[in-house]
Symmetry: C2
Subunit: 355 residues, 2 copies
Amino acid sequence: MPYKAIKEIGEFGLIGKISEIAEPTLKATPDLLYGIGDDCAVYKVSDTLFQVATTDILVDQIHFDLLTTPIKHLGNKAISVNVSDICAMNALPRYALISLAIPPAFTVEMIEELYRGMQHAALQYGMAIAGGDTSSSRSGLIISVALVGDVPPERVTLRKGAKPGDLVCVSGALGGAAAGLRLLMREKEIMLEHIENNEPYNRNVMADLQEYPEAIQRQLLPLARLDTVRFLDINGIIPSSMIDISDGLSPDLRHICSQSGTGALIHENRIPIHAETRTIADEMQQDALTWALTGGEDYELLFTVSKNFSGLIDDSRDISIIGEITEPEAGIRITDIYGMTIDLTSISGFDHFQT
Amino acid sequence: MPYKAIKEIGEFGLIGKISEIAEPTLKATPDLLYGIGDDCAVYKVSDTLFQVATTDILVDQIHFDLLTTPIKHLGNKAISVNVSDICAMNALPRYALISLAIPPAFTVEMIEELYRGMQHAALQYGMAIAGGDTSSSRSGLIISVALVGDVPPERVTLRKGAKPGDLVCVSGALGGAAAGLRLLMREKEIMLEHIENNEPYNRNVMADLQEYPEAIQRQLLPLARLDTVRFLDINGIIPSSMIDISDGLSPDLRHICSQSGTGALIHENRIPIHAETRTIADEMQQDALTWALTGGEDYELLFTVSKNFSGLIDDSRDISIIGEITEPEAGIRITDIYGMTIDLTSISGFDHFQT
């Protein structure tokens, strides 16, 4: 029998194959408006209400490292990354189900701490922890969250829908989560080195991570941009397309363009990057722009709006207009202040199965 | 800091602690009618529709063994166990989200096969595979399914609601899944022994599992009792309480009684056990009744109805009336044909954290 390694086709190739097998099952439920292929599934529950549903699985040593992640923060993050997917549909989070596979060495107190982080996030986002399942695990901790959200039919926003001429917008700043991850990884290496050499790992050799509060916070306690969804609602702005930046600006913009059948032109100097992120990149002799384009995990919202909304967007100090949607023939490009443009798709994001 | 091993408080102790921490989050969503503590969470989406939501996580070497489980069957079972929770609320399954953590050795074809099993189940139950998430895993396969279902407000059935005098009913037959599991485990041992001794493991030494089609099917391809939910609907029967038998008749009846604040008296000779299950138990010198009471994984429905419905229940050849709900003081007891009664709660089910 022929067989193919998953890394040969990558995460998105695999999703394509899964999507084909799932397709015949969609006929049974005519109220399902959108299945696999966006941040959430979308279904109609009444004439005045759609619901959206998403799930994200977090695996020890793949998505997190308990050596550098306080377990309460991990609980908080597990909720936030799912809320971010709900926000990307222009929806509000409602009900979460939590599945856990728990390693034998975990204590009751560790699970309570994990749930306290989830509770903190749920209270912040105004949603309920409504159920779940627990199992033991033969290896590391696994957290799978499923989350249902509400959205009025006229406000639901997909990845597809961007039109040439639309403005490309991004909330907050990018690259901070990648900067934070590098700081934590560097600190972990120093710690392990000291332990291996039987040298004390104490305050004298520890980095003071409080010097970089923004980047560490971005990595350990990302905040889903429910405030941006509320800003759009209050100002009567309905984006033509939206996605959350989990993989990086470059791959996530590519999703919008490929599903909308468009190109895009982004201006390098308009990409919002926090000053602290630039400082960390300089210190590590790395490139902050690359972190912003491909670092991922920023959980900001990337969306497109009609030019009519440009005044309203400008009023928000927290949303940057970084470029414009173009005809598909123009491709997806980034330009610098000298007018040099390159193909943005040549810069790719993180794929679980390619590492 | 004091700490407690999870096995000290068990799965239900842990769920109690999780429930307390989740409690404050419920205030934000007044449409959530029921959170942690039943087979599904229940929330109102309109005046004429409630939805229910559940999640189940399946972990390699805890819930399944790929040496004895065809991967397509595993996909089917991952859907069925969740549909069974939806049925236990008297609801119909609608939208599934699938999270996978995939080991490095898995091929594309294996994932396709897993999804083909899920597709088969979804088509059978009339529901959609609407989304999901995939990740790599550093150890075994993890499957987490979340499932949303629909139920008219007047039909939703909880674990609580049983009243003294109500009849205790069970669909189908019990103990078959436990019998099937023992057959597969015995076969696996024979296989591993032959491999270890460098002896051929071939048709001459293999058991013919086709001799026991019912038990093997029960273990590998359990069927959620959507047909029972439909039978109840067509006949205008609304159970006063319901649960699916995932842990075994004894612990699952205990859930109904403790949440309803009642006792129960069950007649041993009325517990439905398939003839094949009895044959396997005899062959293995085990007790078929114990399998029925504590074996688990039968995914039959255990429910209570008012005595007014006894005629209608009798019309169904597939539902057995096995006893009656009593006042709480009477406890939860089982009686044999000679009138000897014992405390049913002394016979307990499976706990992931106690093994």
